[in-house]
């Protein structure tokens, strides 16, 4: 398998042997894959500054199986410099992708959403709305999209003023039907559907919902990046 100049982002890098680096890469056309960059950690390597998370890259690699070898790397456009207070959000999303994306499964739609997310993390004042929109998209792409437009049993459209409980394997249920699931207002469901997340109460409701939905996908294992969000700061 040989791939030339593929649009890609680095999700994670860890040192390997003496001067090499193992890269976890999210590429537009081939999805997530592992690459070994030989010599990239050598003192004079030109790749060292280049192979960083959040930088849009064009990568070429060759090899078969799980781990291919990086042949060349160049910048694809301007580097995205996440402001220091957004780096954590970026690392959080990268952790989600590393943990949830199957290898070598092309998800060009999600790749585009990732590009949008990074751009928004640089420009948008709050980090939560872009993160929630991306989480929703991620769930859809994984095949576990949330039902956000109608009540699961009656099939009636969601009413903004009503209250629901979201049961993960069924969808939103009218609040009198169940004791289970994540409580959420109709307004919250619709806001997440439209991606327009402004109201702080809605944001915290939606956060509970996406977090619960992602927890199922993560099989209950905690995300390490969440520990870094110090209590009281958000």
């Amino acid at each position: 398998m040989r791939a030339l100049l593929q649009s890609a982002f680095i999700l994670h890098r860890r040192p390997y042997r003496n001067t090499s680096v193992l890269l976890e890469v999210f590429s537009q056309e081939r999805g997530r894959l592992g690459l070994v960059a030989r010599g990239a950690a050598a003192p004079k390597s030109r790749l060292k500054g280049l192979l960083q998370p959040f930088a849009p890259l064009l990568l070429s690699w060759s090899g078969v199986g799980e781990l291919a070898a990086l042949i060349a790397a160049e910048e694809a456009g301007l580097p995205i410099a996440l402001p220091p207070n957004r780096v954590l959000a970026g690392l959080y999303v990268n952790e989600l992708l590393v943990r949830l994306l199957p290898r070598l499964d092309p998800l060009p739609g999600l790749f585009a959403a990732y590009e949008v997310l990074l751009a928004e993390l640089v420009t948008v004042p709050g980090e939560e709305p872009p993160l929630r929109r991306f989480e929703k998209r991620l769930l859809e792409e994984l095949g576990y999209g949330l039902t956000l437009d109608c009540e699961a049993i009656s099939g009636m459209p969601i009413v903004a003023e009503e209250h629901y409980r979201y049961v993960l394997d069924r969808g939103p249920l009218a609040v009198h039907r169940t004791e289970l699931g994540v409580p959420i207002s109709g307004q919250g469901l619709l806001a997440l559907r439209d991606g327009i997340l402004v109201d702080p109460t809605v944001l915290s409701e939606v956060k509970r919902l996406t977090r619960a939905a992602l927890a199922v996908q993560l099989h209950g294992r905690a995300l390490k990046t969440r520990e870094l969000y110090r209590s009281g700061r958000r």
Binding site: L50, Q52, L82, G90, L91, E227
Partner: protein, 190 residues
């Protein structure tokens, strides 16, 4: 021979050469090596103040009364401490993290001894904390995290500058570095 290969840059061939050299020509040297390694392993631990490698409970830097106790430089590795010591004339004290925050590898605040750092900040001696972690994404996240700890206590936090290396040429510098260099430009009086 296989034992020597645990050293960086030593492949099977070099390991063979080193072993034969020690056994055939320099048995005394081999003995000294054994003793030095053994003493180092037995005696070198971490300084209780700065976590740097040290033979004593309190390392020479932390024990030195002439160092400026109001300046604390937070740095990733002992090798970085040596680099700063040898070339900058920095007179403050250090705190060595022994790594950087790397959530995907399971390295969080606890692994970096940040609780010890917090205790140290609480002692009130420190007026400025210099964030000298590497200019990588993880280093940046680490610096941000520690800056928050400092700000919560009203301590000034500064970050080392990053940009074009001395004697470098703009053309050959990678885009990220150049962008940083431009973002971090300073007023200039000729």
């Amino acid at each position: 021979m296989t034992a020597l290969r645990c050293l960086p840059g030593v492949g099977p061939k070099s390991a063979q050469r080193m072993t034969l050299h020690l056994l055939e020509r320099d048995r005394n040297g081999a003995q000294r090596l054994v003793e030095a390694l053994q003493t180092a392993l037995d005696r070198i631990g971490h300084c209780r103040r700065c976590r740097d490698l040290s033979e004593t409970d309190l390392c020479a830097l932390c024990a030195n009364p002439r160092r400026d106790r109001s300046l604390l430089c937070v740095i990733e590795t002992p090798a970085d401490v040596l680099a700063v010591e040898q070339s900058t004339g920095f007179q403050g004290l250090y705190f060595v993290l022994m790594g950087h925050l790397s959530p995907l590898d399971g390295i969080g605040p606890a692994e970096l001894g940040l609780e010890a750092l917090e205790t140290r900040l609480d002692e009130g001696e420190i007026r400025e904390i210099i964030l000298a972690t590497n200019p990588t994404v993880e280093g940046e996240a680490t610096a941000y995290y520690i800056a928050e700890l400092a700000h919560e206590r009203g301590i000034r936090a500064t970050r080392i500058a990053h940009g074009v290396p001395l004697g470098g040429e703009l053309e050959s510098v990678d885009g990220g570095t150049l962008a940083h260099a431009f973002a971090g430009r300073r007023d200039w009086r000729g």
